[in-house]
Amino acid sequence: MSDVELTIDGLSVRVPEGSTILDACRKLEIATPTLCYADTLKPVNVCRVCVVEVEGSRALVPSCSRKVEPGMAVHTSSPRVRTSRRMVLELLGSSVDLSRADDALRYLEEYGARPGRFGADAATVAKPVKVDNELYVRDYSRCILCYKCVEACGEEYQNTFAIAVAGRGFGAHISTELDVELPESACVYCGNCVAVCPTGALIGKAEFDLREAGTWDESRQEQANTVCPYCGVGCNLTLHVQDGDIVKVTSPDDHDVTRGNLCVKGRFGYQFVQNRSE
């Protein structure tokens, strides 16, 4: 495949045909905020925080999904771009609890976003935390509707299709069929939705309980890489260990086979490791 040459912020760059503007930005080490984008999923380009200005294009374009074209002239920090990015962050910051969304918090600061400017009565997506099973918790007050969990549950990874976006407009939300609780739904508890959630809306029950108790402390946690003990596939596991207990299990995103995914056993079946005799 041939290379495509374009300019970004006046700098010339060559990237392989089929690359996105985001890929080209990264090659030039131009920091570009992303929220709904993940290296392991097809871009859905819904958050619009990665928008850039392309000369000749009426509206801004999402850099995460827009493919480069020869001679394209891209601007990533024009006033239009900065305003749109700031506004996207203000809109999210004013409607969603971003207190555990580290990336979003960083961008809010970087772009000087003031979510408070919409007033104290600004509508939010706040709703009660859903604790309806022993493995993971859904706190949709923290959901920015990035669609990653839906993609991971559906055809991108798991093909379980237990969740989808339901409702419309500001009322759009992630839902099981008829909003039934997880144990009544098609969920198989692989937790691949938890793995891709960028805002802490989906977290393991163990983490949730520690956070509720005020004892979750990432600075005290160690990570250990190992291989899943269950079947012969041999998925890589990263054990997150706090005070000698496994508190979370993830899988490396950059592994060619699993790409961050696991099944219910790998992700949640670790209690036997720490069943100590009294």
Partner: protein, 549 residues
């Protein structure tokens, strides 16, 4: 697909209604038949059928549709909950939807107890209007009042698109259509050949009449040249822009012309299959089109060998379920395919990757109506339809040469002296009384920084409450945002909040700056045209009329 299905069973009536769409089930118990794969595009028709039978979409009906069409229940719930006219809670079989949108508000719309409020029903010339839906064995939908004022230009010379309607054509009779010159254009198209037809459409400089004004000939040539097959033809008849009723009038009163125009378009661009996507609020148009399809088929004007000329084309009606955004072409594809009406990012454009991922021509009803006139008339596309409503003595559909001053149209319609005119609908802009000399052409509108949009001309006289109109427009976009992208999903809510604060005199001094920022992010960063224009009329009311400032 290995689906976990809902436990509730459908009633016999629901099963029958869904089977009528999905076909008789194969006797393989609870497993999904192989032949049911890839039939997801029947999801919306199946849910609609169940609701028309029993009045709502029950858990049993939703589950049965999933089983028959191999759709995961969570996914189907996401679809069903997207469309405003599908009810997921039980409700009476007989429901009244009362329009509370711009024209009907001016006409004093009132919502009786138990009735539902509705966005614009496209009946603005007979405002206040409503839609009554009656579920049952023989479901019915009624547009109320059932008839409107007669065509204002009846008997006027020089009409092109409204010519047959003005002359009193029988919309249910193919013979009547032929007696008014019908099917002469298709005959000419067959003589001209594909390239010849595209050449004439190109030469006419026909621009799309749905709102975006894209050159039709360019679109057709792009699809005709695509190597991927099949090519699809889609007629966008999801006319939902508040104040717009032109496509409804054309489909109700001259449906064969749409069939002929689509056949010509299909011939020119190599499409064997066409869809007309009509909003659910237009039941008479549905009936008239189905009748026209059947009669054209029986006369060999649709089917495997159209007019004996050796090319195949057939067309099917698809009906929406209450979603303005589905008038956006890619949201419309999603809807036909059985998904939520969430617009796709462009590029790729529909001419390359459209319906079912194939090259697709999408044309608005009025755009298509121009095609036979171009082939048999003087070759130009020099007129345009305008939907006039509000404070006028003779509301209705007008056809005028492009370039006619707005003032002349207002005089024809016996408009009361306006305080403001909304041009182009909720996605358009407000004009001041001193701007009425605007020429109604694409070029003049662009130069004035406005858009003719879908041809809406809504008149507000001195008595009108413009703050109320602006708040209604903000509410409309908040309700109709699909919710996919952040700028529109949250921006439309923030826009309405800021306007309401100003209207209530509770502003904190920041509102105009907030509104300007919202306008910018929605216009610049939304995925589709809905979000990109969601602040357009509001901005013009503030900047141009000084409303709420």
């Amino acid at each position: 697909m290995d689906l976990r299905l809902l436990a509730a069973a459908p009633s016999d009536a629901e099963r029958e209604a869904i089977d009528a769409v999905a076909g008789a089930p194969e006797s393989n118990g609870y497993r999904v038949a192989r032949s049911d794969r890839d039939r997801r595009h029947l999801l919306l028709p199946a849910l609609r059928a169940a609701q028309r039978r029993v009045g709502w979409v029950s858990e049993g009906a939703l589950g049965y549709a999933c089983r028959r069409l191999d759709v995961p229940p969570a996914d189907a719930y996401g679809v069903a909950s997207f469309y405003a006219l599908l009810a997921l809670e039980e409700r009476p079989a007989d429901v009244l939807h009362v329009c509370t949108d711009l024209a009907c508000r001016l006409a004093g719309a009132e919502v009786p107890d138990g009735a539902h409020e509705s966005p614009c029903l496209g009946l603005c010339e007979r405002a206040p209007a409503s839609l009554r839906t009656i579920a049952g064995k023989e479901p019915r939908e009624l547009q109320l009042p059932e008839t409107g004022p007669p065509l204002p230009q009846a008997g006027v010379d020089g009409l092109r698109l409204l010519r047959r309607i003005a002359a009193g054509l029988d919309p249910e009779s193919l013979d009547s259509y032929r007696a008014h010159g019908g099917y002469a254009a298709l005959a000419r198209a067959l003589e001209l050949g594909r390239e010849g037809v595209i050449g004439e459409v190109d030469a006419s400089h026909l621009l799309g009449r749905g709102g975006a004004a894209f050159p039709t000939g360019v679109k057709w040539r792009a699809v005709a040249g695509q190597a991927a097959f099949p090519h699809y033809l889609v007629c966008n008849a999801d006319e939902s822009e508040p104040g717009t009723f032109k496509d409804r009038t054309l489909m109700e009163s001259d449906p064969f012309a749409l069939v002929e125009a689509m056949t010509i378009a299909a011939f020119a661009t190599g499409c064997e299959h066409g869809f007309v996507y009509v909003r659910a609020e237009y039941p008479l148009a549905h009936a008239r089109l189905e009748n026209a399809f059947a009669r054209a088929r029986a006369a060999g004007l649709l089917g495997d060998d159209v007019m004996g000329a050796g090319f195949a084309f057939d067309v099917e009606l698809r009906i929406g379920a209450g979603a303005y955004v589905c008038g956006e072409e890619t949201a419309l594809f999603q809807s036909i395919e059985g998904y939520r009406g969430e617009p796709r990012n462009k590029p790729p454009f529909p001419v390359e990757v459209g319906l079912f991922g194939k090259p697709t021509v999408v044309n608005n009803v009025e755009t298509l109506f121009n095609v036979p006139e171009i082939l048999t008339g003087d070759g130009s596309a020099g007129t345009r339809l305008f939907c006039v409503s509000g404070h006028v003595g003779r509301p209705g559909l007008y056809e005028l040469p492009l370039g006619t001053p707005l003032r002349e149209l207002l005089e024809l319609a016996e408009a009361r002296p306006p305080k403001a005119v909304l041009l182009g609908g909720a996605a358009g802009s407000f004009l001041r009384p001193d701007q009425l000399d605007l020429e109604l052409s694409f070029e003049a509108a662009r130069a004035a920084g406005v858009s003719l949009g879908s041809g809406v001309v809504l008149v507000f006289d001195e008595s009108a409450d413009l703050v109320d109109a602006v708040l209604r427009i903000a509410e409309f976009f908040r309700d109709e945002s699909c919710g996919q992208c952040v700028p529109c999903r949250v921006g439309t809510v923030r826009q309405e909040e800021a306007l309401k604060r100003l209207a209530a005199g509770r502003g904190n001094g920041d509102e105009l700056e907030v509104l300007a920022d919202l306008e910018q992010v929605m216009r610049d960063a939304s995925i589709c045209g809905l979000g990109q224009t969601a602040a357009s009329a509001v901005k013009s009311a503030i900047d141009n009329l000084g409303v709420l400032t």
